[in-house]
Amino acid sequence: MSVFMDLNLLFCADRKRLQSLVETAANLGFSTVAINYVFEPKAKKKQEVPSPVPISELIGQLPVVQGRSRPIRVLNRLTVVMSEANHFRPNATEYRPFDLLAVQPTTEKLFHAACLLCDVDIVCISVMEKLPFIFKRAPVNGAIDRGVVFEVSYAAAIRDSTMRRYTIANAVSLMESCKGKNVIISSAAEKALEIRGPYDITNLGLLFGLSLADSKEAVSSTCRAVLLHAETRKTASGIIYTMKKQQQQEEEQDAAGCDAPAAKRPKQT
């Protein structure tokens, strides 16, 4: 059986609250959670992309997952809210330290681009407003082919009854076009009382128009597929992985320190 994941816990500067969020998720049986940094570029001024705080510094001792006697796995995730096409910069080095990359498009054109062009893992569906566009089959199918998933978050539905209406309406309209494939349901919780257990979410998926099997996958195996997709983003199609070797750098530094630069600089000759 696949394990449960919740790939959206909102980051907040309050460390205690974040710790209680992760602890609650572990108690409810989630084996993997992702801490979500939301980045919303404004039109005028240039803003810094947030950089993730190291997990060990943020949480310290990781809590043990209920029923699995193993510490919970915590990842970092960045969500870019796109209101213009140039907000998402492909190959930006700021995106590299994040394990997962998500975009939240606000117009139909951007949704099309996010599904078919952007090198991301997750496309977030807005749950705070009535959708300004309808989901067309072509971009949705393209996203499914590329392995990009759609995310519906439910914490807004718990907070407010109007948001609840929008969440359900948007989710149902998404399910109509993607037929329950490549959907994840996550919390986007700010407080510990807003997280729900994995089986509660499975049942909630039925309300969103998923079948029982699809809604179980929405909290387990589809999330795992997202993580694997995210890993392939860093590599060449998941086949070759390159990394800098720390040792070599030191040797080069040593070599630069002593007087033998001629052999080390073949390009200059």
């Binding site: 439910y154 009854s161 009382l193 807003e194 729900r196 257990g197 509660d200 909630l204 039925l206």
Partner: protein, 119 residues
């Protein structure tokens, strides 16, 4: 551990096969409140559950026959009974409820079963 002990601690699992689909489902739920000292009586709990159902599913949801069979006031744990076809409605309305008397709350569903003695 003596052999008697192992006998007494027989495994907690038992296989039950029903010939017909059971008419009811049972849920064991715990109500978590932000203010942990807050007391909720069983009557208040029942009316709160009906409010939850009405909030998500309207009058049709409120018309569901939900019974509170057991209730422990100290731990805020209750055993609910509902018709099988109303299970999804009841469960989803408990899931999406986020406030009780202007304070944050959450229902934790501990167990779901179609047999009362298993809950």
């Amino acid at each position: 551990m003596s052999p008697n002990d192992t006998k007494a601690e027989s495994s907690g699992y038992q296989r039950v096969v029903l010939k017909n689909a059971s008419p009811h489902h049972y849920l064991k739920v715990r109500l978590l409140l932000e203010d942990e000292t807050c007391r909720v009586s069983s009557v208040e709990l029942k009316s709160f559950i009906i409010t939850c159902l009405k909030g998500l599913h309207g009058e049709v949801g409120a018309a569901l026959d939900v019974g509170v069979l057991k209730y422990e006031e100290e731990t805020l744990t209750a055993l609910l009974r509902v018709q099988s076809r109303g299970l999804v409605k009841l469960w989803s309305s408990l899931t999406l409820q986020g406030s009780y008397q202007n304070q944050a709350c959450a229902f934790r569903v501990l167990q779901v079963s179609h047999q009362r003695n298993l809950c």
